[in-house]
Symmetry: C2
Subunit: 396 residues, 2 copies
């Protein structure tokens, strides 16, 4: 991550400690290449190797303790008041620092309901707990869920600008793909083409390459699979792809729906067009319903109702998720109140959150119609970040 964005996010964190009334926020992690806390991206420009503690305090002071070899990269960034290095172990320096600060409420990165706020491993929790127990502070620990959520969710202008550029590039790739597509091309070839277009533009993929893009090529194999396979683009069927790129660490995530015309067709048949229209309406109505202060699930309910009213089964997933440096980022979720979503659908919408909107319906004997757009929440509504798909893309 760039030093500029780290600086912005650490400044935000200082404010949020006030807002959520926490004295000291500790990110405690090791070996970022293996199992680092997802919060580290906002705290260090490099990785960390040994036990590392990043302390940000309500009094606006900051302090980092890391292994000696991780000091220079952090030190030069100039974001933290002090960066201390150790050779043999973190314990002595950490305990000394905590005794000096003596915070009453200490927030750490764990959460049952939100994976993005759950970066502390159980082994590291035990290590931290035992160190704090030695100085009688172990009962001061609380979850940093709200704090971490706010840092990830309230996007700065620099973050939104990175996501806009990722979207611009993705839309170029949709155009190129639309021009190139023909019946008979296999799903895996579609995927390879889109990946090559991303590589040409020097951007990475937004998620795991084996399913970025995911390709849903009509019926049979095409319905069941994320991972693109041998199923060809087939006349009379719907085709769609789920794709995104990564620009300066920030991702896009979009889906587009294509219909593959039969030899004698010049437009999509009524059933396909109806399914597509319902999805367009579900996206638009959901976007129009967005307001800061609303519960996230209310927006999901709007789109879900449009799909059901259109005569389709409701989609077996949430309407939309937040994005950032991951394609699934943040806590608040435009989703139904299902067990697996925990408290996410109950979160309040806030200005500068970035969400996808992605309802879906299955058109019998045709495939899956789905569109995925991205929006940013404004003071009194939402703005498109993507150029919304309003017409079916027809393949001849």
């Amino acid at each position: 991550m760039s030093a500029q964005i780290i600086k912005e996010k650490v400044e935000q964190a200082k404010q949020f400690l006030q807002e959520f009334d926490v004295d000291c926020w500790i990110t405690f992690a090791r070996e970022s290449q293996i199992n680092g806390d997802p919060m580290l991206a906002f705290l260090t420009p490099a990785g960390i190797t040994w036990h590392s503690a990043f302390m940000i305090n309500k009094d606006r002071s900051t302090h980092v303790i890391v292994g000696r070899y991780d000091v220079p990269a952090l030190d030069e960034m100039g974001v933290y008041d002090k960066v201390e290095g150790f050779v043999t172990g973190i314990k002595e320096k950490f305990i000394e620092y905590m005794k000096k600060k003596n915070p009453s409420k200490i927030a750490i990165n764990y959460s049952k309901g939100s994976e993005i706020c759950d970066g502390l491993t159980y082994g590291m929790f035990l290590t931290l707990y035992e160190m704090l127990a030695e100085i009688g502070m172990e009962d001061r620990l609380v979850s940093a869920e709200r704090l971490v959520s706010a840092i990830r969710e309230r996007k700065t202008p620099a973050e939104i600008s990175n996501m806009k550029e990722a979207i611009r590039i993705t839309e170029e790739i949709w155009d190129a793909t639309y021009k190139w597509l023909k019946p008979g091309i296999k799903s895996i070839e579609v995927a390879d083409f889109m990946k090559a277009e991303a590589a040409k533009r020097n951007v990475g993929l937004a998620w795991e390459p084996s399913v970025c893009p995911a390709v849903f090529a009509g019926l049979g194999e095409g319905e069941a699979h994320y991972a693109p396979g041998e199923k060809p683009v087939t006349r009379g069927e719907i085709l769609n792809m789920d794709f995104g790129v990564r620009y300066n660490n920030y991702v896009s995530d979009m889906q587009r729906t294509f219909y593959v015309l039969k030899e004698d067709e010049t437009e999509a048949p009524e059933d396909v067009q109806h399914g597509f229209n319902i999805i367009v309406k579900a996206v638009q109505d959901a976007k129009d319903s967005i307001q800061p202060g609303k519960e996230a699930c209310e927006v999901d309910a709007v789109a879900r109702q449009v799909v059901v009213d259109g005569g389709f089964e409701e989609f077996p997933h949430a309407l939309g998720h937040q994005l950032g440096i991951f394609s699934h980022d943040g806590t608040a979720l435009l989703g139904p109140k299902w067990e697996k979503y925990a408290e996410k659908p109950y979160q309040k919408l806030e200005e500068n959150m970035v969400f996808t909107i992605e309802p879906r319906c299955t058109v019998p004997n045709r495939g899956i119609a789905t569109i995925e757009e991205m929006i940013v929440i404004t003071k009194d509504g939402a703005e498109w970040l993507t150029t919304p798909q309003k017409e079916l893309f027809l393949i001849k």
Copy 2:
């Protein structure tokens, strides 16, 4: 990861459950792109999104419960007896399964001392604990550290063959780099050259690209930094790089030492040659001392003594680490008994473990001499995986 290696590792796991007397081993994770357990690479060919539980039992039965969209990829692999999918939440199916199996000892992925065995987050631990508490099984939980370590450390022939190919490619890149190097080239240009050589050969980098390779170009900036910068390759100084590639998910990790001749030199001066010779001896003596059954720290001590006897300060890090799908993998570590290494230096060496050997010394006013080789432990010793550096690479 290939289905073949997953199949091998799941078979190993079944044996190890017997060896370590565990009834049921659960890997419990969610959103692998954000903070997945590092064990997932050996359990699924794709990622996972929602709460996912992988159960492997001492009775050799296996069972997986994942979100519905993650079912097909796992199902087709054909490794697990049963793959169940859910839409709204995992709890009901998980509790039903555990009640039926009723295991007495349940191992889960946490460890204070070994990050690679510490994949379970604290939030996920709480979720699992509360589900098990509902059926009175919460006190049956133990750490899977020994089990997970064995799965990662006892390499199969297919794993070793992938690492050999990664090393072969890395050695090609060392050769190309040696031929190309000249005084005046900046560290960042050295890094860009090596990265381009890897890209040409269609392999990824073994770790975080900003420090792969790490370039230590002599004095000043060159000594302090992992990350390559503006420091040029300078006559009269030592240059070294730390570099590895990734082939079929498995990595190499090597360091080579170069000396940059002054205009009037045809060989390295005595102080540089002495430092280099000490490192060569430290590597060789350490390798010769390896035997299954020894404590890992004994091997570190051999090399450390050679360096100190050679008149240098002892190196501020471990002599060597294991590798696999990460450049730091496994639990046992050829390291001193320092706090940050916890129990790792006390582990017993075993056949088929793959280690680096990487002692280092600082030659005053010249830079850092260091070599990093890779070895695999055999029934009665160790074999080179790399072609060991025995002569200084001289740059004219």
